[in-house]
Amino acid sequence: MSFWHKLNQMDSRIIYTALLLVLIGALIFPMGLPINIGTSSQAAYDIFNHFKAGDILYVSFDYDAAGATDIQSSVEACIRLVFKNGGRVAAGALWPIGAQQAEYLFRDMLKEFPDLVEGVDYLNLGYKPGGQMYIEKAMDNIAEACANVDNAGRNLSQSPIMKDLKTLKDAAAVICGNHGSPGASEWVPMYATAYAVPNKIPFVVCASAVNATINAPYVQSGQITVYLNGIRAGAEMEILTGQLGTAVAGMDAQSLSHLLVLALMVLGNISYFMVKRENKAKKEA
């Protein structure tokens, strides 16, 4: 068997190992490549940097621990700006683990803004099953859609923030942390098209990068006001808000692993053509 044949049928485990080595190497020895700020991140920054005191941001944590690396940095940066301006935040979750992610995020925020009071400045409504049915119901009445309990099992009427947040229509902006379904694909028809677009309410989607292609038509049509794409947008938001974190730290590893994938694509094609040529030569011989 020729070299190209062997390469063509290379054991996948070699590739797995190469990927691991590249990522681990980049994490231990970061290079600090410069990151340019894109227009979407700037737009998100402008929206939340001008958030009015007392206004409520509704954040839907529609992702789990796996999606968090891609999404949480962007969501966190937006929420940080809202709190900085004296805004309030209500968190819901269409994914079971989303409620946890919200809890982690609020815990971090409390370290930065010790004056925040749960139930007054922020509230975690917890996981609500039902996907699009929940959104549909929450457009009429959030309390009913939540079966009247928050994440900690308390009655919603105990929390002052809920007095100003009877329905989703009372939110000054909505963020959807989108990792899959339910997520933006449910928020766009149920909330954005039905309410946010006609009333010019910002609807921001912070999504893992897989969703970029699906959501592209909604971004171009304006059904999604701002779209923050994956860890890249997370890194940009971290730079904009001046709080560097995991997203910026991961970007070098991303760069190198992408180069590895590209190199493999090129190698795969070279071996493909070489094998094809050898086979053709054999046939002729």
Partner: protein, 213 residues
């Protein structure tokens, strides 16, 4: 930073490594972790449903607020278990919840998603084909032609006359470019997740790199 002393971190690290070992070869560790994962997550699905729906519906809505009409959906839901009955007079009742769910599901499909995914997409393609900026003009025309040609790829009954056959073909090319873009974005996304796990393994567990939390 140093090696973690937390049991939870070690357990998590062990399970993560067991999952990765499955990528190399199926083995008993992977299989065990897989079964535990399936069990816990199915159990968690039940617990979350009880906490979020069953308990509040019975305790608050019915017992406290007296919304007795909620007994109707409860019975509809419970009918699904009729399928375990051997009695033919009873087990057909399991079709009632199926009909109820599919009926509402179809109605939601018709009323909600159609506007966002069809009408709004048509109106968003109302772009001027002549503009002062040549690049915008090119983009607008490409967008209009692209959408139309991909739509025409999905014709099931119209046979295109020969010179027009290039339209669905062009549509397929446009789709392939779109799928390539999707592939590229997915790489970013998936590596992010692996990065998150490696940051955990190298940081929280082995203590080689700095991490937050």
């Amino acid at each position: 930073m140093q090696l973690s002393t937390s049991f939870a971190v070690w357990l998590t690290a062990g399970m993560t490594l067991a999952i990765y070992s499955g990528v190399y070869k199926e083995n008993p560790f992977y299989r065990l972790v897989e079964h535990i994962y399936v069990g816990v997550s199915a159990g968690n699905g039940v617990v979350a449903t009880i906490d979020n729906y069953i308990r509040p519906t019975i305790q608050i809505d019915i017992a406290k607020n007296g919304t007795w009409t909620y007994l109707i959906p409860i019975f509809i839901g419970l009918f699904v278990y009729a399928r375990y009955s051997k009695n033919r007079k009873i087990n057909w009742l399991s079709r009632i919840p199926l009909a109820f769910w599919v009926g509402i599901g179809s109605a939601v499909v018709i009323t909600k998603t159609f506007k966002a995914n069809f009408i709004s997409q048509i109106t968003a393609t109302f772009l001027p084909a002549v503009t002062n900026d040549p690049l915008t003009m090119f983009n607008n025309i490409l967008m209009i032609v692209g959408v139309i040609s991909v739509l025409s790829y999905f014709f099931f009954t119209f046979e295109m006359p020969r010179p027009l056959k290039v339209i669905p073909k062009f549509g397929r090319y446009i789709m392939m470019i779109g799928f390539g873009a999707a592939y590229g974005n997915t790489v970013l996304s998936r590596i992010s997740v692996l990065l998150g796990r490696l940051q955990f393994l190298l940081g929280n567990w082995l203590g080689i790199i700095q991490t937050r939390v």
